[in-house]
Amino acid sequence: MLEIKNLHANINGKEILKGINLTVNAGEVHAIMGPNGSGKSTLSSVLVGNPAFEVTEGEVIFNGKPILGMSPEDRSCEGLFLSFQYPVEIPGVSMVNFMRAALNANRKYKKLDPVSASDFLKLMRQKRAIVELDNKLASRSVNEGFSGGEKKRNEIFQMAMLEPKLAILDETDSGLDIDALRVVANGVNTLRTPENAAIVITHYQRLLDYIKPDVVHVLYKGRIVKTGGPELALELEEKGYDWIKKEIDGE
């Protein structure tokens, strides 16, 4: 589904990603862990085409198509979704209007007619139940005045609405209390199918207790330095990152 080959990327001329290689297949959940500043969020930003980053080398194939030349909106319509670490507030734009614009943009890309108002509202009702968001959500402005937990649940709600092929969850657990974490994780698990996949970026094992990864990668200094099964996350939880840093830096 996703194939990243030798990906290098800069921000403001500084190289952050220094040759990432990663393959994600349909039905899989990959966890990407690593110490602060290792390039985890940069990787997610680059995949979805954030213009603040510049790709200097490498290739990304998504569903058989090279996507690095695609606009962010086309990547989204191809089925790539990012749950933002810091979802931005858009004052005055109601969630209903925002979500309908997004859904219809995705439908237009697939040459489908816009969704009717009643179908849309029905869909909103269904999907917000997955993350236990109440119906006041519809009239509230995008993320405005949302608590940290609400913002993250709102991200998963949007994911549920758009049904992406590949969802990237960028530190979705940060700032969540244990109850909110469970709600978010349940949402993600509910949306899992054999046809879609997820990349979960996190510092901690905690989230992975709820969202079971198939593969765990450790990102350090812009490279994937270790790959393993779920047991790798447990090992990191126990021993921290120092032993990996030593292993790599000691080389």
Binding site: A52, S71, C77, F84, I90, P91, G92, L162
Partner: protein, 481 residues
């Protein structure tokens, strides 16, 4: 990175979909302005002597004035001898039925989304359609008359209701008020007159649609609304013009009189041709709009969505004379390309316990200049006056300007005056967030701008809110890349 630089950069043309010209036999008088021209206009309209006298007084006064230069605008000198002051589609004036209206005219207004056949019309709205210097047709006149409501073209009102016109015309905006008010008073051609009798709640939206069609003409219309005790009316004004390389002048006067407990809501969706992307052509929109809350606990509320015109100079204002009266001003002004707007309001508190609210949302893109100019005046006798002003500016790109000129003149120490102002840009994070959900940058900007203006858009009559939202997005089309 390239993408992000493009995001806030001015590029292409605005799509102005009302730019067509109607090919219709039009009677025009020779261009230029003189006492004779004033007399000709009055004669064309078969006006009584007192009306001609009013025009001539205004004309002679206008000759003594200089154009105002205090606004933050670059107004090129206007040659009044090059303007045609009267142009009328050739047809029977004041047609009794639609059969007497030229089909070409009906088609024009159909194309503008303003069908004049009553049965086809948006439910709950009556329209006075004005093309160039004359009113083409006023719908639902008879139905309204049953309730005692007068809704007619200004010319007809001069003939049919001279007492009301004599009493109120010029009572809020004197011909001595300013340069363009004097000019309008001398040469005004048509417009609408509304009278709502005591205790009547007008059952439908009243609306005037102004259309400039003939080249090189100016449009000078007057609107007068009188709302008697305990009455209510919601009035809406719309306007468009063909795309032309020459600038055309539109100088209007709107007067509103609200008696005891009367409630008048006046909304404008101004979409005159704004000129092309290089600033060639477009309408000069120099308008004096003012209402007086004469009666106790009366209320006047102005809502305007200004997206068109090359240059806009207008300050819909309220004189709060009656005790406990309320004035409101809600404005969205969009400027793109080389448009210039200097707009705002004056709230003049005279009565006791008067309240006013000002919400102004300026949106500038391209190379445009957008200014808010407002005055809050509290006179010595206006005990317990309250004002809240909020003036927000949104910038798209770094070639445009947003300016705020708030003035306060407070002569009574019991007044409570609040002023808030913000200036913001659409952030790249917001646009990218939308992009990531599949929404194109252009659509994202439309969404964000409408969200920013929501507080004002919500004040528009329902029938027009959707249109106005689209208009806002279209006006900014091409302002981001």
């Amino acid at each position: 990175m390239q993408e992000s630089n493009n995001i806030l950069q001015e590029v292409t043309t605005t799509d102005y979909k009302y730019g067509f010209v109607t090919d219709i036999d039009t009677e025009v008088i020779p261009k230029g302005l003189s006492e004779d021209v004033v007399r000709i206009i009055s004669a064309k309209k078969n006006e009584p002597e007192w009306m001609l006298d009013f025009r001539l007084k205004a004309y002679r006064y206008w000759l003594t004035l200089d154009p105002p230069a205090w606004a933050h605008l670059n107004i090129p000198p206007i040659d009044y001898q090059e303007i045609i002051f009267y142009a009328a589609p050739k047809q029977k004036v004041g047609p009794k039925s639609l059969d007497e209206v030229d089909p070409e005219l009906l088609e024009t207004f159909n194309k503008l989304g303003i069908p004049l056949e009553e049965q086809k019309h948006l439910s709950g709205m009556a329209v006075d359609a004005v093309m160039d210097s004359v009113s083409v047709k006023t719908t639902f006149k008879e139905n309204l008359a049953e309730k005692g409501i007068i809704f007619s073209s200004f010319s007809e009102a001069v003939k049919d209701h001279p007492d009301l016109i004599k009493k109120y015309m010029g009572s809020v905006v004197s011909y001595r008020d300013n340069y363009f008010a004097a000019l309008n008073s001398a040469v005004f051609s048509d417009g609408s007159f509304v009278y709502i009798p005591k205790g009547v709640r007008c059952p439908m939206e009243l609306s005037t649609y102004f259309r400039i069609n003939t080249a090189n003409t100016g449009q000078f219309e007057r609107t007068l609304i009188v709302a008697d005790d305990d009455s209510y009316v919601s009035y809406l004004e719309g306007c468009t013009a063909p795309m032309r390389d020459e600038n055309q002048l539109h100088a209007a006067i709107v007067e509103i009189v609200a008696m005891d407990r009367a409630d008048v809501k006046y909304s404008t969706v101004q979409n005159w041709y704004p000129g092309d992307k290089n600033g060639v052509g477009g309408i000069y929109n120099f308008v004096t709009k003012r209402g007086i809350c004469k009666g106790h606990a009366s209320k006047i509320s102005w809502t305007q969505v200004e997206t068109g015109s090359a240059i806009t100079w207008k300050y819909p204002s309220c004189i709060l004379a009656g005790d406990d009266s309320i004035g409101e001003f809600y404005s969205v002004a969009v400027t793109n390309n080389y448009q210039e707007a200097d707009t705002g309001t004056k709230m003049i508190h005279i009565g006791r316990n008067t309240r006013s609210t000002i919400v102004s949302k300026g949106i500038s893109a391209g190379h445009s200049q957008n200014s808010y100019r407002g005055l809050v005046k509290v006179s010595a006798k206006a005990e317990n006056a309250r004002n809240h002003s909020q003036c927000d500016s949104l910038l798209l790109g770094d070639q445009c300007g947003a300016h705020t000129f708030p003035y306060a003149d407070i002569q009574n120490e019991t007044a409570v005056i609040e002023h808030e102002a913000t200036t913001s840009k659409i952030s790249e994070e917001q646009v990218f967030y939308c992009n990531q959900r599949g929404i194109s940058t252009e659509e994202a900007v439309g969404l964000i701008v409408n969200g920013y203006a929501r507080e004002v858009m919500n004040k528009l009559p329902m029938e027009f809110a959707v249109e106005a939202q689209k208009l806002l997005a279209i006006s900014l089309e091409g302002s981001v890349g």
